[in-house]
Symmetry: C2
Subunit: 142 residues, 2 copies
């Protein structure tokens, strides 16, 4: 049996990355932004804003999950919910002025982390990793 099982390895790699991202964010002065918040900053339309459901779809989490994240971001003043004139059911999540700045930093932090990881592993291994992960995450029926 191979040492740590694959699941464990996956989890540890995830945590390692998350904690490194958190460190990066803090260095950029984003001390109240969690890794999970990046899901919004990475996927929201900077100018026009994006609907919560659409955000959830892009980030690949449930809409309820996205709710929580948006709630927190709204409390912190980084986004606000505006009603959508085109659809009375819908609300558009929009970045505030502060939010726009933070979004930029956040995107840079994520980008920088991926770049560093890619450099550390080497292009070939990095690509192979993404590829293998996508396979496991997506194409594992029973």
């Amino acid at each position: 049996m191979s040492e740590p099982d694959l699941g464990r390895l996956l989890l540890e790699a995830h945590r390692a990355l998350a904690s490194e991202l958190a460190g990066d964010m803090e260095e950029r002065g984003l001390n109240d932004v969690r890794a999970g918040h990046a899901a919004v900053f990475l996927h929201i339309d900077r100018r026009s804003g994006t609907r919560l459901t659409e955000l959830a779809r892009r980030a690949r989490i449930s809409k309820q999950g996205m709710m929580l994240v948006v709630d927190e971001l709204e409390t912190r003043g980084y986004v606000r919910r505006a009603s959508d004139p085109a659809d009375a059911r819908a609300k558009v999540v929009k970045l505030t002025a502060r939010g726009r700045t933070v979004a930029t930093e956040c995107r840079r932090a994520v980008q920088s982390l991926e770049t560093r990881t890619k450099r550390a592993l080497g292009d070939r291994r990095y690509d192979g990793l993404r590829d293998a992960l996508a396979d496991i995450a997506g194409e594992d029926p029973e």
Copy 2:
């Protein structure tokens, strides 16, 4: 910017694997055994039992985390805590008769999942994956 960020991919791969393992376990009649419980079954000495701290070390989680897992397993009657004659502070976690059976099934399930994954990815990509993950996770015990 690459599609889902690496962290997301890691998380999704982990969940996919975990849920598949859960399915396997259930098929084997282990419907009250979670993926996390495998940490014990995979690392405990079948005959002599193992100390909680040692289990935690092997599974690479905190001793408090291992406490919870052992608590649950004890409630379910799969392990029991016996005091260690060699050290009055210590307790030895031992498999019960039922626990031994479950441990066997559990090891098989994990083994089978890894084998299937390895087959699905191919040896080279599987090895590359483990290697890259270990790198990211920062395999050194600090």
